[in-house]
């Protein structure tokens, strides 16, 4: 393991700017947003908690042109790959789901693969929690263990550095003068910090009585006909915020530009909570009622993904809880499914 001072880390980022478009979390009021890195400004926050926006936005873009005028080339392309700094463990799990969908699911998606292939992920430990954090229930620790190139653990002003990939290793070797061997005391400081955050997430889980994913097996099948769905969907306004903010949601709409002399096809994020999501042209709709669509959302995350990919498509990031204007709470729905059916 390595160690880097914050001033050297600023130099490191400066160098990365040559090969990457670097994004880093910046604190605004009580939220964190990825912003393009210019210099090591005071509002940059490497630790603390996940950013407001899900990590998928960088690779599976909210709106992009995917075909133009029958031409076989790809319409848009960024100049350099992304380097995303300060990614939290929950979002790394989200990326795992996106990777499964777009890279390994029988067919490959050239747009996602292109955005993803040369990127650099510099993740970071959570050093605090918000009250909607429940990652541990989904077997995600509040610090990254895999799927990163380099991980940072904030200790005081500086960082303990862990390498997670060959790409990360090469970079640290390339800029070896900026890094030093980590002292034992910083590792124990890191471990103490990690334990403290785990304890806080555990308190969240205990307070809200959130079941662990070990008890999720067959909850959808078991609760399929229960009245939980209608009950929970009662206040839903069909805004789709839970879908767009979710790091694992991947559904999209192919949408053609309304111009008859120019064929341009866009894809935009879509929401399975919207009424016409599964409706066919003749009008038939397998999920005409809102509660059916809420059930479907949970079925996708807690039944489909574990069956096809052996993973629950939830990261415990809690974004959907904060985003929902109707206060539909995924923790409560899971609790009811596990304990009340």
């Amino acid at each position: 393991m390595q160690y880097i001072s914050s001033s050297n880390f600023a130099k490191f980022l400066e160098n990365l700017k040559n090969d990457y478009i670097v994004y880093i979390p910046v604190k605004k009021n009580d939220q964190y947003f990825y912003e393009k890195y210019i210099d090591f400004a005071d509002d940059i926050v490497i630790g603390e908690v996940r950013a407001f926006e899900p990590l998928k936005s960088f690779f599976f873009r909210a709106r992009e042109i995917v075909a133009e005028n029958f031409k076989s080339d790809i319409p848009q392309k960024i100049q350099k790959p992304y380097c995303i700094v300060g990614v939290k463990a929950c979002d790394l799990k989200g990326l795992q789901i996106q990777d499964y969908v777009f890279e390994n699911h029988d067919y490959q998606d050239p747009f996602y693969i292109d955005m993803r292939k040369n990127n650099l992920i510099i993740s970071a430990d959570c050093t605090s929690t918000i009250d909607t954090c429940f990652c541990l229930a989904l077997n995600v620790k509040p610090y990254p263990l895999e799927n990163f190139d380099i991980n940072l653990s904030v200790v005081g002003e500086d960082f303990v550095v862990e390498v997670g990939s060959q790409k990360g290793k090469i970079l640290i070797e390339k800029y070896s003068s900026l890094f030093e061997e980590v002292k034992e005391e910083f590792i124990s400081q890191r471990d103490k910090q990690r334990k403290k955050v785990i304890k806080r997430v555990e308190e969240n889980i205990k307070q809200n009585d959130i079941p662990h994913q070990d008890s999720f097996k067959n909850i959808i099948e078991r609760g399929y006909e229960s009245n939980i769905w209608a009950d929970e969907a009662n206040n839903c306004v069909e805004c789709g915020a839970c879908n767009t903010i979710c790091p694992t949601c991947h559904c999209f709409l192919l949408y053609d530009q309304k111009s008859e002399n120019k064929m341009a096809r866009l894809r935009i994020w879509d929401s399975c909570m919207i009424k016409d999501f599964a409706q066919v042209a003749g009008g038939a709709n397998p999920r005409p009622e809102l509660w059916m669509r809420l059930r479907n959302r949970f079925e996708k995350k807690f039944d489909f993904f574990p069956k096809v990919a052996d993973i629950y498509a939830c990261t415990g990031c809690g974004r959907c809880i904060s985003a929902c204007p109707a206060k539909i709470d995924i923790r409560k729905v899971l609790k009811r499914l596990v304990y009340d059916v």
Partner: protein
């Protein structure tokens, strides 16, 4: 910049060379794609109307015709409404083929009953030509087709030709006849009885509106067909065609890549498959 992976969202340009009015609400378009598109019968394509959008259709033409494709389309939505305005020389786009069609190899040496309803005649037409081309491979071939009225019966003149074939036993029905209709009157399940084949080992293929597929499947099971021998062509909101956009999922399947043809045993446990 070119990608190593083909862009799956890009339609191939195709020209309309013929538009045939089949019924007041159904037209067949014949298209010539710039690059030849080969498909297996039962697979589907996405048809783009530039500036409007795209929609999924199973071609109604013989799969062995490499350079042209025929698609039979009912006017029901925003894309199909525009399709009905198309004329010779107009440009459309085609993506695909997608999904899994009928597993012809599994039909070898079997007795086959094909049941079609209404607009479901379109994919069935493609399948029937494939079956005719391989005629010697199967023991017996039955076709039972139904639609609402004689005016809505698709491919009328082809049906007359089919009726003359020695390798096919064909029977048609309409829900409501007229003075010229000489054949059966009633829903399609009423002409399934008396099909002279061994139901236990036979293959049944059903394509039509959801309600027709639902009751035909029920009837076929009552007759003794095995669930794993009943082939259904599912109609869901297929969009991307490659199992990513999420719109056509039923249970653990995406209809676009795992279907659209499924045997009944694979999908019966999922809710709302007929809606």
């Amino acid at each position: 910049m070119m990608y190593k992976i083909k862009n799956p969202y890009r339609p191939i340009r195709a020209e309309i060379t013929e538009v045939i009015s089949e019924t007041p609400t159904i037209k067949t378009i014949r298209i010539v794609p710039e690059e030849p598109i080969t498909f297996e019968t039962g697979q589907f394509i996405e048809l783009t109307i530039p500036g409007i959008g795209e929609a999924p259709f199973t071609p109604s033409s013989r799969p062995t015709m490499k350079d042209i494709m025929e698609i039979t389309i009912m006017n029901v939505g925003k894309v199909t409404e525009k399709v009905h305005e198309l004329k010779n020389g107009d440009i459309v786009g085609v993506r695909g083929p997608f999904g899994k069609g009928y597993p012809m190899d599994r039909f070898k040496g079997k007795e086959i009953l094909v049941v079609g309803g209404g607009c479901g005649f379109a994919p069935i037409r493609s399948l029937m030509y494939e079956l005719f081309d391989r005629s010697g491979e199967f023991k017996k071939l039955f076709f039972r087709g139904g639609c609402k009225t004689p005016q809505e019966l698709l491919y009328r003149s082809e049906m007359d030709d089919w009726a003359k074939r020695k390798d096919l036993d064909i029977k048609l029905t309409v829900d409501k006849g007229d003075s010229e209709w000489k054949e059966n009157v009633g829903v399609v399940t009423t002409i399934l009885d008396g099909v002279e084949m061994d139901y236990e080992s036979g293959i049944a293929i059903v394509c039509g509106p959801p309600i027709m597929m639902k009751f035909s499947t029920k009837k076929l099971i009552e007759m003794g067909f095995k669930e794993e021998n009943i082939y259904l062509s599912m109609e869901k909101n297929m969009s991307c065609g490659i199992g990513k956009c999420g719109h056509c999922r039923i249970g653990t399947y995406y209809v676009c890549k795992d279907g659209p043809v499924f045997t009944y045993d694979k999908i019966k446990k999922f809710s709302n498959i007929w809606d």
